[in-house]
Symmetry: C2
Subunit: 335 residues, 2 copies
């Protein structure tokens, strides 16, 4: 399509060898400043850019990382990608995107296909459908990998997460202090550490306040909007909880709809609180009390860690980076 300006062309026009051109372009100490300048100016003039495939093949570096996540169209993940992309730009890396749609087979297929030198490293937030740590135990030996938010524990890999347990504890206390004693839990990510930590924080906060939590007050997430809605409606009707603690954003719409359909007033009849990165939380009717994770920063941190590893920089002691979530109290919990 174009006129193919490569290193050979530069060498010919300057009457020097391609080795010299290559070294000059890479600012090698072997080349005199005079020659470097000749090369650089001609390269700029001809709009030369190195062929990535050739470069990758020879050097075994791709300057590319892969982001493997459940879904792009999600506030949390799109913000994470934004953070990752920003850091990648700074380091001169390219970013490949793969969506697993919570399918662990797709997850394996993608990550496996990345082991042949397509990328230098992987950033991933794993599928919630299953917890298959043997697979990842092998994977982390084969390629630099950083987990964020949805992680596998006990692996020799960097993990960037949030204070799920603490913030869930704190949020539950907020509900209790708001006068709630029958707090239902909308349970997501139950196979993953994040989901378990949130649930544990909820349970422990109840226990700390002498509240027993009947199992019937827990609704588990299914990948079926209508089903979730029905479950919540049944929960509300059968057990009349005075609060809903939603551990994932996906429960917000069904929760609000369920209340509306049953004629329950938020926050008077039932208070609602949810993990969420919705920018419109404050515009909801009523405005929603949220636990928002620093999605953008998580992406940035995870990317920074990966690039440090790829550049052989020392990772400051810790393999686990834990960022703080923010509890924003709004009308849905009576604030």
């Amino acid at each position: 399509m174009a006129e193919a300006v490569n290193i050979k062309r530069l060498a010919q026009e300057l009457n020097i060898s391609i080795a010299t051109v290559s070294k000059a372009l890479n600012d090698s100490y072997e080349i005199s400043l005079k020659t470097k300048n000749r090369v650089w100016t001609l390269a700029k003039e001809l709009n030369y850019t190195p062929n990535p495939a050739a470069s990758n093949l020879r050097s075994n570096k791709t300057k590319t990382v892969a982001v493997v996540i459940p879904c792009v169209a999600n506030n949390f993940f799109s913000l994470s990608i934004m953070g990752i992309e920003e850091i990648a730009r700074q380091y001169g890396y390219h970013v490949l995107i793969y969506q697993t749609h919570e399918n662990i087979e797709a997850e394996k297929a993608f990550t496996n296909s990345l082991l042949n030198g397509r990328v230098d490293g992987i950033l991933t937030s794993v599928s919630s459908s299953e917890y298959n740590s043997e697979y990842y135990a092998n994977l982390v030996k084969k390629i630099p990998l950083v987990f964020f938010d949805r992680v596998y524990e006990n692996l020799d890999a960097v993990k960037v997460t949030t204070d799920d347990y603490d913030i869930a504890f704190q949020a539950t206390e907020h509900l209790i202090e708001s006068g709630c004693s029958k707090i239902a839990y909308l349970f997501g990510l139950e196979n993953l550490p994040a989901g378990k930590a949130r649930f544990a924080g909820y349970l422990d906060a109840l226990k700390a306040h002498g509240i027993v939590a009947p199992e019937q007050l827990v609704v588990k997430y299914h990948d079926d909007e209508e089903f979730n809605l029905q479950q919540i409606k049944e929960l509300l009707e059968a057990y009349k909880p005075d609060a809903l603690f939603s551990s994932i954003e996906e429960f917000i719409i069904p929760a609000y709809c369920a209340c509306k359909e049953l004629g329950l007033q938020i926050p008077d009849d039932v208070k609602i609180l949810s993990f969420s990165n919705l920018s419109t939380a404050k515009l909801l009717s009523p405005s929603l009390t949220t636990i928002s994770q620093p999605a953008f920063e998580i992406g940035r941190e995870a990317a920074k860690c990966l690039f440090k590893i790829l550049n052989n920089k020392q990772l400051d002691d810790e393999q686990n980076i834990i960022l703080k979530s923010v509890l924003t109290k709004r009308e849905s919990t009576g604030c």
Copy 2:
């Protein structure tokens, strides 16, 4: 890191030449079924995957496309990416992401850096900050490129857009029929065809109903949340419009906040309607009448077009694909 299983290794173990192995892997007619099967089974056994860099270098095909967009963390674009990624998977392509942050220099830098064979094609939704069609006129000659939503016109390239003019006209009529006569316009994307078409639809609808639109009722978007909020507040106070037609999602939060701060009731004092792909539109207070673009389908269509081009399939006649947006009437316009 691993034990490097390549074509040479396969050839050695099977006592055949690397050419035969390569052809067998690519299912060439030159190779007998018997040999192919030997190769295939060993390849699977050793978990062989071709080295992409070597393959790209030799064949000049990368099976990779780039998506260049203003920002990932946006409902419209994240849905588009989702659609693109889905189609890319079907065709066996990889997807690179680049964010321009509405910066036309970044846009040029990215697209230029993609011309050296890093990708086979580009999908882009261009920056709103400027309209620089000379640059793109050159670019489309150098690499297969498909525009979606935010396009450059009069170029020899496929464009996937929506019926911006028609739907804006229709939405404006909806406001008029709801009793509005002083409809303010919150103007976004003013440099781009989409923004112009939306504004034209609005103006023509007013004209068709004999309404003159004073210029003071138009507020232009700036990349400054606080500034937009102030502008809208001043507009509401100074000219007391009975409706706000927002041409982009970014105006929703300031519009709602402005009304709240001024004590204006939606929809009684002022009706609001906005282009938006917010999933929570129906949960806002009050629920928001929206024009939602089929973002996911736009991504899918754009990707399909690009892959058709890359596979030398005939594009069915048309270079312009226009999808329909959906006007969903809710409480914010009195429905």
